[in-house]
């Protein structure tokens, strides 16, 4: 079996005349944590949406562990080990934290939820309806829902959005730790460069729907095109 856990080939997505993704190729090795960066409007969220099945791509293919899942629904992709979190918190407001994690676990053969709850510091909030917990807790819950069942491929869309610097680093550390322990392949969209450089093995750069570059943190930092287009003001 190939060691590429997640692959997108020639992914293209259009909204009317606007091209959000232009023949994007991406290949992430098993167990790798790949960062996905780029300016606003670069197509990062769109790429995640296409890879996860939330959006249809006009052209190109998506492969999970070598299997072509291009035509599959999000439900079906979950069964093949792909999970995702959301930039705008996407939880179940009227279920308690524990209830929704249970619902998540029933879909993946009754996976253990205690571990996820502990790792993400949600154990104390088990009986609270999700609508009543803090924003930071909700972000972690959003992530927890994706982690239940130890997915083999994890797509994260700005998991630290709206969190304080401290919260972001804590989250990043937890992510790195879990990903390494569980051998999860991660594709992480993130604006916070510190977070990206601290946990990612490699980084892909998107700009205007096209791939601008890909490499290790050091390589990307040094890449003049990338710096000019994006990192100049960030890193």
């Amino acid at each position: 079996m190939s060691d590429i856990a997640l692959q997108g080939i020639g992914l293209t997505r259009r909204f009317g005349g606007f091209i959000a993704l232009d023949k994007v190729d991406i290949a992430v090795k098993r167990g790798e944590i790949r960062g996905l960066i780029g300016p606003n409007g670069a197509g990062k969220s769109t790429l995640i949406d296409v890879l996860s099945g939330r959006a249809k791509n006009r052209a190109g293919r998506v492969l999970i562990n070598g299997e072509d899942v291009s035509g599959l629904t999000p439900q079906q992709r979950r069964k093949r080990g792909m999970a995702r979190s959301f930039q705008r918190t996407n939880i179940f407001p009227d279920l308690t934290v524990e209830q929704q994690l249970r619902v998540a676990s029933w879909a993946v053969a009754d996976a253990d939820i205690a571990e996820v709850m502990d790792e993400l510091h949600l154990a104390g909030l088990a009986d609270f309806p999700a609508a009543q917990i803090s924003y930071g807790d909700q972000r972690r819950l959003d992530l927890a829902l994706a982690l239940v069942g130890r997915p083999s491929v994890l797509l994260l869309d700005e998991p630290a959005a709206g969190l304080t610097t401290e919260e972001s680093f804590t989250l990043a550390r937890i992510l790195r730790d879990l990903a390494n322990r569980w051998n999860v392949t991660v594709l992480l969209v993130e604006h916070d460069m510190q977070v990206v450089f601290s946990i990612c093995d490699r980084i892909s750069v998107l700009h205007l729907g096209r791939q601008l570059g890909e490499g290790t943190c050091a390589e990307v930092r040094a890449n003049p095109t990338v710096v000019a287009a994006y990192l100049g003001t960030e890193a």
Binding site: S52, Q75, K79, P93, D94, L95, T96, V103, L145, A146
Partner: protein, 335 residues
């Protein structure tokens, strides 16, 4: 999901574990037993008859409320399913097409199956569009029943005699107020307990999750159409029960049973009673039934009173009467 449904279920009780299930079953058993005492408690046959009819309303209101609770959908057409139950039973019995037991089975399963299919098809439709669609369903059936004279005399409605025996016992007893009131009460209790158990089962929780956030449920790996359709089916089954009981008690079916105002009133009962609690709609229905009965002279203006009550409750008490009681109970418990 609509913000209205969000508000409605925000404070739904979440009892923990098996002890709560035991309490639920125990409460149900007690209620069932209490039901058998009704013929002795009730002051007269008339009182029993009235209560029985209030219970029919309660079942239909429960159907509406359950759909709202588990699917987050407002239906203006549950009377379509109670009407179907009534008509299926009435027509099959009147024409002696099948045995009494089979007629009952068909009367209960036909609306359920239809609702399931409809649920599959309209799973994606929510909010006001859903209200309009269910309205149209009920009315379409009303129109059909109205015009199809060969079926059941159309507009005039049709009386029919109950079969002699059903399940080995005399069926005529169904029209005895004492028998019907106990039967209707028992069925209502069993339905309420059953729905409560469903809500706490895996399927029920998954349905609740889908209600809360359909998209995320999909990303967790769930097909969202089937659970929704199942909830439609269960709700229709409860409505069909109401229809069959009513038809057999009165020995009469009429197109009016499908009318959207019947659905609308059931919806009002559910809202006033509080749809976020399984028992709320039933309480609302019984309350409204007796208020109407009590209102006697002003019964002419009853629709306006109910309409006014709906407006007031909708604007000021989103949790309905039961919700209000629950809120007050919580406040006093905190002191």
């Amino acid at each position: 999901m609509s913000t209205l449904a969000h508000d409605a279920v925000r404070y739904a009780k979440k009892p923990r574990g098996t002890s709560a299930t035991a309490v639920l079953l125990l409460a149900g058993a007690v209620a069932l037993l209490a039901g058998f005492a009704l013929p002795w408690i009730a002051p007269s046959k008339l009182a029993m008859s009235l209560f029985a009819q209030a219970l029919f309303d309660a079942l239909l209101a429960t159907s509406v409320g359950f759909l709202f609770l588990q699917n987050g959908r407002v239906s203006f057409g549950q009377a379509a399913f109670s009407g179907l139950g009534s008509y299926a039973f009435g027509v099959l019995v009147a024409r002696n097409l099948v045995g009494a037991e089979a007629a009952l089975l068909v009367a209960l399963l036909l609306p359920t199956a239809l609702a399931f299919l409809l649920g599959l098809v309209i799973a994606r439709v929510s909010g006001v569009a859903h209200a309009m669609l269910t309205l149209a369903v009920g009315q379409a059936l009303y129109e059909v029943a109205f015009r199809w004279r060969e079926l059941a005399k159309g507009d005039d409605g049709m009386s029919f005699d109950l079969p002699a025996r059903i399940f080995g016992v005399s069926a005529r007893g169904l029209q005895d107020p004492a028998v019907m009131v106990v039967l209707a009460w028992s069925i209502l209790v069993i339905v309420l307990v059953g729905l409560a158990l469903f809500a706490r089962s895996r399927t029920g929780m998954v349905a609740a999750a889908i209600r809360d956030n359909e998209e995320r449920a999909r990303f967790l790996g769930y097909s969202t159409t089937l659970p929704r359709a199942l909830v439609y089916a269960i709700a229709a089954f409860v409505a069909a029960l109401a229809g069959v009981l009513q038809a057999s008690y009165n020995g009469y079916i009429a197109p009016q049973m499908f009318h959207w105002t019947v659905s609308g009133f059931a919806l009002i009962m559910a809202i006033i009673g509080g749809a976020k609690f399984i028992i709320g709609p039933a309480v609302g229905a019984v309350a409204l039934f007796y208020i109407k009965d009590f209102a006697g002279q002003v019964a002419e203006y009853w629709p306006a009173i109910v309409g006014g009550a709906l407006v007031i409750v909708t604007l000021t008490m989103p949790q309905g009467i039961i919700g209000l009681a629950d809120l007050l109970w919580r406040r006093s418990a905190r002191r």
